[in-house]
Point group: D2
Chain length 86, copies 4
């Protein structure tokens, strides 16, 4: 079993209005020194088998097709934990 | 400047119906061996000053109050990058 | 062809921390008199056939199973437009 | 008191990959005849005072600035309920 994490964020050049609203609210809420807030999505996938290069390639394809819209979003794929198999 | 990441996920005991719909769609889309999909939120905060313990405590408080609903969600705070200051 | 809209909102008794952050940001952004902000999800479904009672019952079941988590969320189903058939 | 609803959807020409994943999962889950699924956001605002034209103009401005990213999203503003005042 392995856990693979796919993070999906709006591309840097695309405005994130809600993140901006939160960022501008922060000083009033007593939080200073935070100059930018961006909100994205995090997907946690549980994968049955060890995540080898072929599995990782398929998960990249999955992320590109169904989790992110690559016109407006960037994504990263990370293996977070992987139990040692034999 | 530092980047702090706050990940917010539904608690494990709370059902994630959309994640489940995606998970059940996967075999049909040609992706096998993925037994669970959960979708959460990822916030990226840019912090002006070095993130010391006091700053981290404030960011934890921010996450607990305005980014996560701790009745139904768990969150984690991580410093992802921190430029060396002087 | 018909369009069916499923609105999914957190139940009133469940706190919406991000909505609250936005609401508390508003006066500072120059918007007064807004006492509450809640953020939910809106799904627009395009349905091939006329939406009769049986179709509506299936869409309710779909919403209950895969679009909303009824432990923490309420949903409503509305037919927004329906072209006259023959 | 009035309730104003702001619906925010990706523009029609922008792909919605998660909506698509759900749509493609549906036949397998036993739901047929749904040709498109798009997921957007719904904001419910509680407004203290009667929503006259000036208030509506301000809420449109709010939606345009902080709730929607008008490069990639469309939004609509609707007054859903308004108690009669004196």
């Amino acid at each position: 079993m392995a856990r693979v994490v796919v993070d999906v964020m709006l591309k840097p050049e695309i405005l994130d209005p809600q993140g901006q609203a939160v960022q501008r609210a922060l000083p009033r809420l007593g939080f200073k020194g935070i100059t930018d807030v961006r909100q994205g999505k995090r997907f946690e996938l549980e994968v049955e088998e060890p995540v080898d290069d072929a599995a990782l390639a398929r998960i990249n394809e999955l992320a590109e097709t169904f989790l992110a819209n690559t016109v407006i979003e960037d994504f990263t794929v990370k293996v977070e934990s992987q139990e040692a198999g034999k």
